[in-house]
């Protein structure tokens, strides 16, 4: 499953065939004296799964929130599907957001709404993408079917288990059929079996819709299964990048620490 070609060649291969759909250059962000990102770079190529690993508190969530306009970086350049993210106005940003799905670390389901209403919510403002939709039921059902939870359509989030919540959140992300999906720790807080199910879902989605995925995780199993490439975020920079095999066999202590179980 994991290719034996050296990483540098792998990356060259990908880069020669595809163009980056998402690009971050020299991203910097500090909260007061707390410098979180100090010149972070990455390129996400079309159709690939890129995993970002980093310690808790290393700024992974801050970085991924900069990609969707939830956090404003201090400096740097972010390009998504050829557009300079930081120069977009609100309308253009919202339009771009229909192409970029975001799975929140804690699922972030609206707990005053049913599962159906949760899924319909993104459709309220993004109807232009599908034309005018009078009946959203087929879209909602398709998204729920994709995550195997059609039966939960009328439940409230409080009635769902953690794993089910994560799947509903994934369905809510998918309902707009995004080209890029940003996953913020899709398996955190879940047991190993449920984690596997979520990972399997992520791979199915990628195959079915040919999405490009940026996956933040510190779950080694998740990284092993989904990652084509891995970037390590340490001290606010992209400290190292490589394939799973290369990184897990690295001589650098800081890098190896991630892969010890």
């Amino acid at each position: 499953m994991i290719s034996q070609t050296p990483y540098s060649q792998l990356k060259r291969d990908i880069a020669s065939k595809k163009h980056p759909i998402l690009k971050i250059e020299n991203l910097k962000k500090a909260f007061g004296d707390n410098v979180v990102l100090d010149g972070f770079n990455l390129e996400l190529f079309e159709g690939e799964n890129l995993v970002i690993m980093g310690k808790s508190g290393s700024g992974k969530s801050v970085m991924i929130k900069c990609l969707i306009g939830l956090t404003e970086p201090d400096s740097g350049y972010v390009e998504i599907m050829g557009k300079d993210l930081l120069s977009l106005n609100q309308t253009e940003l919202n339009e771009l957001r229909t192409e970029v799905g975001f799975l929140f670390q804690g699922s972030a389901l609206y707990d005053s709404m049913t599962v159906r209403e949760n899924l319909e919510f993104p459709l309220r403002r993004h109807k232009q993408k599908f034309g005018v939709v009078n009946d959203t039921t087929p879209l909602v059902e398709e998204a729920l079917n994709n995550v195997g939870l059609l039966s939960a359509i009328n439940l409230m989030p409080a009635e769902l288990s953690g794993g089910m919540k994560r799947r509903i959140a994934l369905a809510r992300t998918l309902i707009l059929k995004p080209k890029i999906i940003l996953y913020d720790e899709p398996t955190s807080g879940l047991d190993p079996i449920t984690s596997k199910e979520i990972i399997e879902l992520m791979r199915n989605i990628q195959r079915q819709y040919n999405t490009s995925s940026l996956i933040i995780t510190h779950d080694v199993d998740c990284a092993r299964v989904v990652a084509e490439r891995i970037i390590l975020l340490i001290d606010g920079i992209n400290y190292a990048e490589g394939s799973f095999n290369e990184l897990s066999n690295s001589k650098d202590e800081k890098i190896r620490a991630f892969f010890k179980n």
């Binding site: 929130k65 969707i68 306009g69 939830l70 919202n94 957001r97 229909t98 975001f102 929140f104 670390q105 804690g106 972030a108 389901l109 609206y110 707990d111 005053s112 919510f121 993104p122 309220r124 403002r125 993004h126 809510r172 707009l176």
Partner: protein, 256 residues
């Protein structure tokens, strides 16, 4: 200890709150309007506080009458009872007590609700899915409290007067028609209009403070409790300040 840090933080908070209020006025008049959500909030807010307001108002009516009656009786002035009670309830006690009750119920409720939405990233999720959370959550709630409090005060005033009537009826044997005729005749527009106008401001302040505290809630579950708690404290304080200003202005315009 009240160091400079505290004073500084107080003024920063005032500044933030003013900015938040300015944003409200910018967003309330621009499209898209969230009418459906506004109606839902009006219903929720009214429904949540109606019983509480009614009970409080009824008891206030009873208590004022029971306590004032002996004094008036001493001067043989029981006949003035309905007029006295109605003026004091409509002008001051009704709006202030009901607004305080409302603040306790609604400002904390909104603070906790929006606070937990902030902490669990539901507000961020709204933003990402293209809905402006300020419009959807804040504008609807503030408009709803601004509209609902005056209605609740009118209902509460009527119930308080009814409570007062019950005492009068038991002790002094006055009929309902006579009592309310006297009570209403005692009122002039200068009692009713300023008192009603100020309840809109009270409702606005309560919604605004609840939303401000919730929307800017600190991360962590402690933050949610703090948001709910400080919303009530801040809202009650603001109510007294607004009431003082209202009484002051009324005095200038109507009493000279």
């Amino acid at each position: 200890m009240m160091g400079t840090g505290n004073i500084e933080r107080f003024f920063i908070e005032i500044g933030d709150f003013s900015y938040f209020t300015k944003r409200f006025f910018k967003e309330v008049f621009t499209r898209p309007f969230e009418f459906k959500e506004l109606l839902k909030q009006c219903y929720n807010i009214g429904n949540k506080s109606l019983l509480l307001v009614s009970v409080t108002a009824f008891i206030i009516g009873l208590v004022i009458t029971l306590q004032t009656r002996p004094t008036l009786q001493e001067f043989g002035a029981e006949a003035w009872m309905p007029s006295m009670v109605s003026i004091s309830i409509i002008r001051e006690i009704g709006p202030v007590i009901i607004a305080l009750t409302f603040a306790g119920r609604i400002a904390s409720g909104i603070g906790a609700e929006l606070g937990s939405m902030r902490v669990t990233e539901q507000i961020d999720a709204m933003e990402v899915s293209g809905t402006n959370p300020f419009k959807y959550l804040v504008v609807t709630r503030v408009v709803a409290t601004t509209l609902m409090l005056p209605i609740l005060v009118i209902i509460g005033d009527a119930i308080a007067l009814y409570g007062s009537f019950i005492v009068e009826n038991l002790k002094g044997d006055v009929s309902l028609t006579l009592y309310f005729t006297k009570a209403i005749n005692a009122l002039s527009y200068t009692d009713i209009i300023p008192a009603t106008i100020k309840t809109f401001f009270f409702g606005f302040a309560i919604g605004m403070v609840g939303c401000y505290k919730g929307f800017n809630c600190e991360k962590g579950t402690v933050g949610v409790g703090l948001a709910a708690n400080s919303a009530v404290v801040f809202a009650s304080m603001l109510l007294f300040i607004l009431d003082f200003i209202a009484v002051f202005i009324t005095d200038i315009f109507f009493e000279i």
